[in-house]
């Protein structure tokens, strides 16, 4: 922290920063302790850990090639060789499900990162500079709140093209506002605190103050908010795939597989079942984890 | 009319049983005005809530009887209690802004109290609602029944609360801090209103307050509560004239007095009310009492008659305190100040701590707290002797003429007892 401020000597800032850093440390430690006591959140963490392991394994090994057609009969029901059965083209559902894990996690985490970068930057700028800048940003946020989210994502995917990155950008465009609004509020209140005043008085540049002082102190709520972005992003991604505007075929993903399953529902039910369960349980796990994180790290929400 | 006998109410929290009200006994005659006084947390509100059966989980009435017109309210089921609430016994609360529902019209909130019971004919309700507001002197009542609480001023809200309380012509009105949230002129108006109601309609009133001045303005009789118990009870004039419990005495001293020529610094009562989960042994006021004696630390005094119609729960009582201290006025209200009696555990602990220290540190501590040595000399000579045995240098500090004499005197006292 001391390195971010050049001249003159900044004992006050360093002192304030130091105290705050210590407060933060104990806040994190308390938070982790509370989180560990939440059994549901812990179970969610274990499940999500396993999911990451599956996603990593799927890079190196799957029972069959996920896009290989005709590994068994069309609509083959689950069996020893194909525990989750096969789809319309005779592709192994287990292999596709494993690869689909990668898509869902990438969509969730990737979108969260984009939202984090965009939302935090926009929120910091609006909250710190206030005035006209804030008014313009707030208007943009309000406009985005006024348009149907999924439709924006659909149009953007069509305009940008159906790549994974484009999908993440499209989803981000529909959910960045909550983060921006949160960070704006945090910044508005933090910028009046003494240690920020001290940093400003000592001639620190706006960028340094924003990212070196305000951002670290708003970390708790920001991380909680980012955690809730993940399930929303996965869900939106699945919606897009379900409507045929997700990752392009033949890439396997859960939403697309569920869509194929619904199409085949009059003949077999296993195709729609497994991706639906995978999606539901994963979203449930992220929500439980997010709830646990919020209860543990966001004292305002404590009951 | 109302007889509360040995009432005990507890709250069962994670930390243990909070005994908010213990063994409270008092009665109320028709048309009487009774004040219940005490600091916040002394159990006066919980007592009132218990009477109405409004104590919520984790709270529970754990013992005693509440006889209202010969029916024991603690034995009634929730529907029977509901029919008494607001109909026979009404209650008004401290903060009239938070106690009125913000999203419902004031008139509706008064009317619904009448609709909930069959005492007032349904068709008379709207008109009576307006008349009640007129009766409690809300101007332009006809129009203001349609207002919401936030459109009323603080005093008007409290008037509306009173109108609501009176709507079913209850026999008993319990007013919990009815004037606390209001400014002084409005306070006086509300008190006057309550006094008129009592005199004109014969409604009995229990007034709960922390302010003895408010009691003096309205009540005939007063009950003083401390730490969940009644510590003094009697006619208002008598108690104001000669309080017998040191707590009542301290409360009265904390009142600002208009008739006093010299403006003395307001004396608040030193210390905090005791922890109701694990209260101190003996009298519960002992940690804060200026007049305590050794007995106060070991035995809990009973509530005894101390004069005509006056009861107090104290081993000493002010009568004896004045006599023994040989003084007409006592000004120092600090814990133990007047009697000099230290809680035994406290002083012994200090000595025990000192014995574990190195000698220079002990001397330093004693030098910093000159009165400590004096207290040891007067109260715990035996412990002091042990300290001197451990740290001979302490003896040197004692060898000034005064203290040496004191030690000798104390040692002789010890023997003679």
């Amino acid at each position: 922290m001391a390195t971010t401020i050049t001249a003159p000597p900044t004992t006050v800032t360093e002192y304030a920063g130091g105290t705050l850093a210590r407060e933060q440390v104990s806040l994190w430690r308390d938070g982790w302790r509370r989180l560990r006591r939440n059994k549901l959140a812990l179970a969610a963490v274990v499940y999500l850990g396993l999911l990451v392991v599956v996603a990593v394994i799927a890079f190196f090994w799957t029972p069959y090639k996920p896009n290989a057609i005709g590994t068994c009969d069309t609509y083959a029901v689950p069996s020893g060789a194909h525990p989750f059965g096969c789809d319309e083209l005779g592709r192994d559902s287990l292999s596709r499900l494993m690869v689909g894990t990668q898509v869902s996690l990438a969509e969730g985490v990737g979108t969260a990162i984009i939202v984090l970068v965009v939302g935090v930057t926009v929120g910091l700028i609006a909250g710190y500079f206030r005035g006209t800048v804030d008014a313009v940003i707030s208007l943009i946020i309000n406009i985005f709140y006024g348009i149907p989210a999924l439709l924006v994502a659909l149009v953007l995917v069509v305009v940008l093209g159906q790549g994974l990155l484009n999908i993440m950008i499209a989803i981000s465009a529909t959910i960045w506002m909550d983060m921006a609004r949160l960070v704006r509020g945090q910044t508005l209140s933090l910028r009046e605190r003494e240690f920020i005043e001290a940093a400003r008085a000592s001639g620190a540049k706006s960028g340094k103050i924003l990212f070196g002082h305000i951002f670290p102190n708003a970390m708790g709520p920001i991380i909680v908010q980012a955690t809730f972005v993940i399930p929303i992003a996965i869900l939106t991604g699945a919606f897009l795939s379900f409507l045929g505007l997700g990752v392009p075929p033949p890439q396997a993903d859960w939403g697309g597989m569920a869509s194929e399953g619904v199409a085949a529902i009059r003949y077999v039910t296993h195709i729609v079942t497994f991706p639906s369960i995978a999606l539901s349980v994963t979203l449930l796990a992220f929500n439980f984890f997010g709830d646990g994180l919020r209860d543990a790290f966001d004292p305002r929400q404590k009951r | 009319m109302l007889e509360v006998k040995h009432l005990s109410t507890s709250f069962f929290t994670d930390d243990g049983e909070v005994k908010a009200v213990r063994d409270v006994t008092f009665d109320l005659f028709p048309g009487e005005t009774l004040g219940i006084v005490g600091e916040s947390g002394c159990g006066k509100s919980v007592t009132a809530m218990s009477v109405l059966g409004l104590v919520q989980r984790p709270g529970k009435i754990v013992g005693g009887q509440i006889l209202f017109k010969d029916r024991d309210l603690t034995k009634l089921n929730s529907e029977e209690l509901r029919q008494i609430r607001g109909r026979d016994i009404a209650m008004i609360f401290q903060d009239p802004l938070s106690s009125l529902n913000p999203v419902l019209r004031v008139g509706f909130q008064i009317d619904e109290a009448m609709f909930a019971h069959d005492k007032i004919a349904k068709e008379d309700v709207p008109e009576r609602g307006v008349n009640l507001l007129k009766q409690v002197r809300v101007p332009d009542a006809q129009r203001r029944v349609k207002d919401y609480p936030h459109q009323f001023s603080g005093g008007m809200r409290q008037r509306a609360m009173i109108a609501m309380g009176l709507s079913n012509r209850p026999e008993l009105l319990i007013a919990d801090e009815p004037t606390t949230a209001l400014d002084v002129t409005v306070q006086a108006q509300i008190l006057e209103l309550l006094r008129d109601l009592n005199q004109e309609m014969g409604t009995s009133i229990i007034l709960i307050t922390h302010n003895l001045g408010v009691v003096a303005g309205l009540c005939k009789r007063v009950v003083v509560m401390y730490a969940g118990e009644i510590v003094e009870e009697g006619p208002v004039e008598q108690i104001f004239e000669s309080p017998q419990h040191p707590y009542t005495w301290s409360l009265l001293r904390s009142l600002p007095r208009v008739d006093e020529k010299r403006h003395e610094r307001l004396k608040s009562i030193e210390g905090l009310p005791p922890d109701l989960i694990a209260p101190p042994p003996g009298c519960k006021f002992n940690p804060r009492c200026p007049f305590r004696i050794e007995k106060c630390f070991s035995e809990d005094p009973p509530l005894e008659m101390v004069g005509t119609a006056q009861q107090a729960k104290c081993w000493v009582t002010m009568k004896r305190a004045y006599a023994e201290m040989n003084a007409a006025t006592i000004t120092d209200t600090r814990p133990g100040a007047a009697s000099g009696v230290r809680p035994p555990a406290e002083l012994l602990q200090v000595v025990a701590d000192l014995r574990t220290l190195e000698e220079p540190e002990v001397l330093e501590t004693l030098a910093e707290n000159p009165q400590l040595l004096e207290q040891m000399v007067s109260e715990e000579p035996a412990a002091l002797e042990q300290l001197v045995a451990d740290h001979p240098a302490v003896a040197e500090k004692l060898v000034t003429e005064e203290t040496a004499a004191a030690v000798d005197g104390a040692a002789e006292d010890e023997k003679s007892e």
């Binding site: 449930l284 | 409004l54 609360f93 529902n101 419902l104």
Partner: protein, 321 residues
């Protein structure tokens, strides 16, 4: 209605207009700048293509096209479809809007009704198994995608009733997988509306529960009980009425969620609503329809948000703009 309220409404209407302009231009420019359109995919060539493009004004620069669109839109004319040639979009969209509104309205009623009911019960039975069960259902509600729930519903119907219909008191009741085009058919509407409403009901449960737990601590609840009101009256008239204030605050986002969900649900159940039309238009490059539907949805959300703001003043008399 006070002067302040009118000024507030004016500001909100202005925001709606600005949003409509920004959004419609954004979408218009985006879809019209895409390479290819419905006509190119129909293999029209040379003079024929040029003639059709000219007929639709597609040979002009995008700002001019948008200006023409805007001139029409102000008079309620959203232009013509490319795919269903000559079909005017406005009547088409309005017809579909009525279907979507029926579905969305039913879903909104289910969401708010079920969510508030569960929320109140959970709060009244705080920290009992009932509370845990209902809050878990709430989390499941907003975790399970609506298409999963819809599929599950269809499967259950299929398992119980292989021929999709059964008889109840002599009346044939069944679930048609394809929309029959009859409005107000409760049975037909039930499954899609439940699948759509259940997702958002979880959020309502959660907010209602938290709000009720907060409200029952308030002094005016104690007053209401001291008056001798029945506990049912205290809960509904005094507690729930106040708890509705925070619930109202999520109604706006709820409408947005339901619109998003309806796009999926209408596609699964083949319901001829705006959501299905939107997906069809965007996948078949019928861009005039895309812009039209988008505009209608944006207007709908704007009006819904304005309605919610006015609803606030009804529920909480302290709120004045």
């Amino acid at each position: 209605m006070t002067r302040g309220t009118l000024i507030y409404i004016g500001q909100r209407v202005l925001l709606i207009v600005v949003t409509l302009l920004v959004v419609s231009f954004g979408v218009f420019a985006a879809v019209h700048s895409l390479p290819g359109n419905a006509f190119i995919s129909e293999h029209l060539h040379g003079a024929a293509l040029a003639s059709v493009l000219h007929q639709y004004g597609l040979d002009q620069p995008i700002p001019i096209q948008y200006w023409n669109f805007l001139k029409g839109a102000i008079h309620g004319d959203l232009g013509n479809s490319f795919v269903i040639q000559g079909e005017a979009i406005t009547p088409l969209v309005l017809r579909e809007l009525s279907v979507s509104m029926e579905l969305g309205g039913a879903a909104l009623i289910i969401t708010v009704g079920l969510g508030m009911l569960f929320g109140v019960i959970a709060a009244m039975r705080q920290n009992t198994w009932v509370d845990y069960l209902l809050t878990t259902i709430a989390v499941i509600g907003y975790s399970v995608p609506s298409f999963v729930l819809a599929t599950l519903g269809i499967l259950l119907f299929a398992l119980a009733l292989p021929d999709w219909t059964f008889s109840l008191f002599g009346t044939a009741i069944g679930y048609p997988l394809r929309w029959q085009g009859t409005y107000g058919d409760i049975v037909q509407l039930s499954l899609p509306a439940i699948a759509l409403g259940f997702y958002t009901s979880g959020q309502v449960t959660r907010i209602t529960r938290a709000a009720m737990l907060d409200v029952v601590q308030q002094d005016y609840i104690r007053t209401a009980r001291a008056k001798g009101l029945k506990s049912r009256v205290v809960t509904i008239r005094h507690a729930l009425r106040n708890a509705m204030v925070p619930v109202t605050s999520i109604l706006g986002p709820l409408v947005v969620s339901i619109i998003a969900g309806s796009v999926i649900i209408e596609n699964i159940f083949g319901i001829p609503g705006l959501g299905k039309e939107f997906v069809r238009s965007i996948t078949s490059h019928d861009y005039n329809v895309t812009v039209g539907v988008f505009t209608i949805y944006t207007l709908l959300i704007g009006v819904a948000n304005l309605g919610v703001d006015l609803l606030y003043t009804v529920i909480d008399p302290r709120i004045r703009y």
